[in-house]
Every structure is written in structure tokens, then in C-alpha cells.
């Protein structure tokens, strides 16, 4: 008789073991989903791998796609350290993009050397501002932050659509919904000879900074205590409300930077399809990375490869882009099942002995 029994101790090892299990389970359930939906899963996985890693262009796309995922993954991971949920990275991403357009097109259309920093600051500031709403609602009014961040995503997207369909629409755009292009002085510098922009380096720097902040500062210590034991945090006299608000502000600024870099490095304007599910992507990245800031870049690269490979599925096999959503769900379920399995071990006993246990 084979049984699964709980295992005790060895948290780090079981964490990595769980991650491995998670990826395997996700792969298998993704294959099952492909098969159920009537697609050849071997062909599908092969097309994804070829699309993401098979060509220099694909690999470049993965790197470019990873930058916003690192930012939003960090944003989610930071709040999760406090056991608070920020599922609103999408809304904060959108407001980061709006902040860039505000700075680059409205406030300082003239340009200049400081335009780029101003745009980045604008994006981070508006992202933080948008995250401040659920944080204040949570600390002042006790409103559940899961729901408030989710609802605010819809508001942010509709507001951005209003901007580029309405008052900020490019007058020279032939009615095309989108703002005018940002002045070139505001664009993020590219790695010579490629399309890779500075956003990736910024994201990596933020990952290291967040790790230092969480591990080496009083703020990080307080966050950890609050996340692990709110009672202890209160007893120790931490200002829990201010801590929550600070974490959400930083979280929103990170997500806002994601939107800012996407606009400044890739799209150069606000337009349709700017933010498609980056908030949920951030949740997946954060949990794949076990909420560890230094794990986030690796997890983001992995998810970026899946997303880029998923695009390839559209062109190679004619499957709709929504397939990647199914794979993302498989990843999340894989993480959950992997954690459960990793906390257990297989015990093989003889059938008679089973009664004793």
C-alpha cells in the first residue's frame, strides 16, 4: 500500500522540490488541456519552444517581455510578504503608462535630457498613487484589498481607453485610437544593435534593491514580522497601517514602472492592448519565485518564454492567444499541487500494516 504522509522540517529543500513538482505538474496538465481541446500537445510544446528559444529574435522577445513581468512580480511579492494581496498590478501598470504620457506629452512636451527621468518618475508616482487607494481603503475602512484592487483594474483600463480614444488621441493619427508618439528624447536607450531596452536592467536593479530592503532594513524586518504574525507586530509597537500603506506605495510604484518601461521602451504611446493581464502574470511570477525578490527575474524569464512561445502558437498552429491563459492557470495549479506534494512523502507499507497506521 502506498500512502502520502506529512513531512516535517526542511522548508528550503521542500520549497525547491515543490517548485520542480509544480513545473512538472504544470507541463503535464498543460499537455492534458491541449489534448482535451483537440490540439496536438507535442506539436504545441515544440512550437512554443521553437518560438521562444529557437531564434535570436525569439530570445530577444523573451528578454523584452520579461522586464514588465519582473516589475509586476516584485510588486505582488512585496505585498505578499505582509500577507496582503495586490491583484491590482494591472491597474497600477496602466496608471504608470498614463503617468508617462502625462509627463512626456502634456507637462514637458519640449523634451530635454531630463525628460526620460521625469517620465519614469511620473509613471512610478501615478502607479503608487493608484495603489494608495486600496491601501487607504484597507487601513482606514477595512475594505478587503483583494476586491478593491480587482475592481480598480477595470476602472484604470476604462480610464486609459477614455484618454486615448478621447482627449489625448493623436490628432494626426487618422482616427487611430492611441496617443501621439512620445518624443524620442523620452525613449529608453536600447542595447546597441538590438531592441532590448534599459527597462530590463532597471527591473533587475529593482529586484536587488527590494531584496536588500527586505533583508537588511528595518522596514523589511517589520514587513516580515507583520506577514508572519500580525499580533506580534502590533505588540512590538509597529505602526501596522503605515507599514501596509508604505508597502502598497512601493508595490504600486514598481507596477507603475512596469507600465512606464513598456511605454518608454516598446510602444512609445498609449494604445490598445498595452495591459493585457499583467496583473495576474505578476501573481504567477511572484509565486513561482516563492515570493523571493531574487527569484523573481528567473520566474519572469520563464513566464516570458511561455508568453512569447504562446504567440508562436497563434502563427504556427493557428491556436488563439488565449491558450497561454490556460497554461498560466496550469502553472498556478501546479504551484499549489506542488506545495502540497512537497510537504508529504511517499510511504510504502504492506497492506496488513496499513491498519496499524
Amino acid at each position: 500500500m502506498i500512502r502520502l504522509v506529512p513531512r516535517h522540517g526542511g522548508a528550503v529543500r521542500s520549497g525547491l522540490w515543490g517548485l520542480g513538482l509544480a513545473l512538472c505538474l504544470a507541463l503535464v496538465s498543460g499537455a492534458a488541456a491541449f489534448a482535451l481541446l483537440g490540439a496536438d500537445w507535442v506539436q504545441a510544446y515544440a512550437a512554443m519552444a521553437a518560438g521562444a528559444l529557437g531564434s535570436a529574435q525569439g530570445r530577444m522577445d523573451v528578454l523584452i517581455k520579461a522586464a514588465p513581468l519582473i516589475f509586476t512580480g516584485l510588486a505582488v511579492a512585496l505585498c505578499c510578504r505582509l500577507k496582503a494581496w495586490n491583484i491590482g498590478a494591472e491597474g497600477q501598470f496602466v496608471f504608470g503608462a498614463v503617468g508617462v504620457a502625462l509627463a512626456g506629452l502634456r507637462l514637458f512636451p519640449g523634451g530635454g535630457a531630463w525628460l526620460l527621468p521625469a517620465c519614469l518618475a511620473g509613471g512610478a508616482a501615478l502607479g503608487a498613487l493608484w495603489a494608495a487607494i486600496p491601501a487607504l481603503l484597507k487601513t482606514r475602512c477595512g475594505v478587503n484589498e483583494i476586491l478593491s484592487t480587482l475592481l480598480l483594474n477595470y476602472v484604470a483600463v476604462i480610464f486609459m481607453e477614455h484618454l486615448y480614444f478621447g482627449p489625448w488621441r493623436d490628432p494626426a493619427g487618422f482616427g487611430f485610437p492611441g496617443t501621439a508618439e512620445l518624443p524620442e528624447a523620452a525613449w529608453l536607450p536600447l542595447w546597441p544593435g538590438t531592441r532590448l531596452h534599459l527597462g530590463l536592467a532597471l527591473a533587475l536593479a529593482c529586484a536587488v534593491l527590494l531584496w536588500l530592503a527586505l533583508e537588511r532594513t528595518r522596514f523589511g524586518f517589520q514587513c516580515r514580522v507583520l506577514g508572519q504574525n500580525p499580533e506580534a507586530a502590533r505588540y512590538a509597537g509597529f505602526n501596522v497601517d503605515r507599514l501596509t500603506l508604505t508597502a502598497f506605495l512601493f508595490s504600486g510604484a514598481l507596477a507603475g514602472l512596469a507600465g512606464a518601461c513598456e511605454v518608454l521602451g516598446v510602444q512609445h504611446r498609449l494604445q490598445e492592448g498595452l495591459a493585457s493581464g499583467v496583473g495576474f502574470d505578476g501573481v504567477i511570477v511572484a509565486f513561482l519565485a516563492r515570493l523571493h525578490p531574487l527569484g523573481v527575474p528567473a520566474a519572469a524569464l520563464f513566464l516570458a518564454a511561455i508568453l512569447v512561445g504562446g504567440d508562436q502558437l497563434q502563427t504556427a498552429l493557428g491556436l488563439p492567444g488565449a491558450v497561454v491563459r490556460i497554461l498560466e492557470a496550469a502553472l498556478l495549479f501546479g504551484v499549489l499541487a506542488g506545495d502540497w506534494l512537497a510537504a508529504r512523502r511517499l510511504v510504502v507499507t504492506r497492506a496488513e500494516a496499513g491498519h496499524a497506521g
Binding site: 488541456a33 481541446l37 494581496w85 491583484i87 481603503l137 475602512c141 477595512g142 475594505v143 478587503n144 483583494i146 476586491l147 478593491s148 480587482l150 475592481l151 480598480l152 477595470y154 476602472v155 476604462i158 480610464f159 481607453e161 477614455h162 478621447g166 495576474f280 501573481v283 509565486f287 491556436l319 488563439p320 492567444g321 488565449a322 491558450v323 497561454v324 491563459r325 490556460i326 497554461l327 498560466e328 492557470a329 496550469a330 498556478l332 495549479f333 504551484v335 499549489l336 499541487a337 506545495d339 502540497w340
Partner: protein
Amino acid sequence: MLADLTLVAQIAVKSSVAVLLAGLGEVLAERSGVFNLGQEGMMLAGALFGFAAGAATGDPFLALGAAMLAGVLLAGLHALFVVGLCADQVLSGLAVALLGGGITAFLGRGWISRPGLRLGTWDVPLLSKIPALGEVFFRQPPLAYAAYALLPLVCWLLSRTRAGLCIRAVGENAQAADAAGAPVRLVRTLCVLAGGAFSGLAGAYLSLSYTPGWKDGMTAGQGFIAIAMVLFATWRPWRLAAGAILFGGLSALQFYFQVAGLDLAPIWVLRVLPYVLTLAVLVAANVLGPLKRLARAPGDLGRPFFRE
């Protein structure tokens, strides 16, 4: 003026149905201690499968059955993870929402803007002849009557039956309920599955009656709004109806302003209103004294149950 008012009221009732149905499902799940963020995905699945089954067979009962089955299947996945594996309920719910969105976008390609079965307005004989009131309440799609008939049923189930007592006990204190012999895991699983069936129906209402046809992401966050309304209703079905009507009223006003060409507010303001006002309603539920006193979540909501 009266004609306009009754029209707005009629649309308000019509627009409240999906939120009410999904909300009733969420009430059942949350009263048993399981937070279900996956409603959005289950509603989408119900909308697509209900519409597809209706278009293929032309049989409304088969359509509704397919919708409920789709919701139940996704709910089963949620139950497997949160009840069986004691997984994080928020993450599992998000995964279900993602999965529902992905699967329906994948399978729904061929069904976009195709004609299909419609469950249009059905006038209740005699009652619909009552001036004003009859028009508001008794000229509705059949599922609207079903939703408002299910409301007292869920109330009765929760507050007057042994099963309801068991559900509430499991949600308040699973360990104690377990010690008293209640089948905690079974109760939670059944409640989540029932919630899935309700969400499936809510989705089918959207694709068969409210805005007939299938469109990607056609629920537009109504699953999340339903969850917010459950918090507003402090887990009580009757108040949930009030929340749903509130939401329906806002949608109706938005619709009315657009049709009447009233330039009271720009379109985008009207579009964000349901989300913003849902948030406002949540704030009100947490701040206003009389509402606050009653606002206490089921004690074990969100906590996985396992025997020590």
C-alpha cells in the same frame, strides 16, 4: 415620466439577475468557509456552454444544464484544491478565473456573434397586467424569476434547515463542527459545487437572455462584483438582493442615459460607475454603524480545514 421610470426599474431588475445568481453561489461557498474568487471564470464557462448547447440543440433546459455543468466542473477543480489539498483559496480562485477565461476564449472562437437560442421576456399571465409594478417585476426573462425564486430558497436552506445549520457551523468553526460529527470536507465541497452551478446559471443568463450571444470576456467583472456584493450583504441572502438591485439600477441608469442621449456624464464615467460604486458600497458596509455591527465574516472563512 412614469413610463421612463418603469422602464429604468424594469432594466434594473433585469440587470441584477446575474450578480444575484453568482452572489447566491458565493454566499453558499463563503458560509461554508470557502472563498471563491473563481466566479468570473465559472460565469464565463456557463455563458459559453449554455449558449453553445442552446444553439446546438435549441432546448433551453439542455442549455441551462450545460451551463450549470460547466460551472460545476470548474468549481470541482477549486474544491479539489482548497478542500482536498488545503491550498490557498485566493490563488486557487485566481487560477480558476484564468482557466475559465482561457478555455472559453479558446473554445468560443467559432461562436462569436452567431445567432442562437434566446430566452427572451416572458410575461406572467395576469400579474404582468398590473400597471407599473407588473411591467417592472413580471415582464422579465424566465431566469430572472428563477433567480428571485431561488433567493428565499437559499435563505430557507441556510436559516431553517439542518443542512443550513451544518453549513454555517462548518464555516464558523470547522474544528468544532468536525468534533460534533459534521462532515466538514463534504459540506464544503458540496457548497463550492453548488456555487459553481449558480455561477454557471448566471453566465447562461448573460449569454441567453441579457445580451444574447457569445463574446469574449462578456461577464466584464460581474463575477468579482458579485463577490463584493456578498461582502456588502454581510453574507445574508436578502441583503444580497438589495446589493444586486443596486448594481442593476446603476447599469439601468447608464443604459438610460445613453439611449436618452442625456449628456449628464461622459460615457467613460458611466462605464466605470458600476466598479466605483461597488467599491463605495463596500466602504459603506465597513464604515456605516448599523451595517458595520452586522458585518462579521464566517469565522473560518478562508481557512483550510485539516485534522490535527
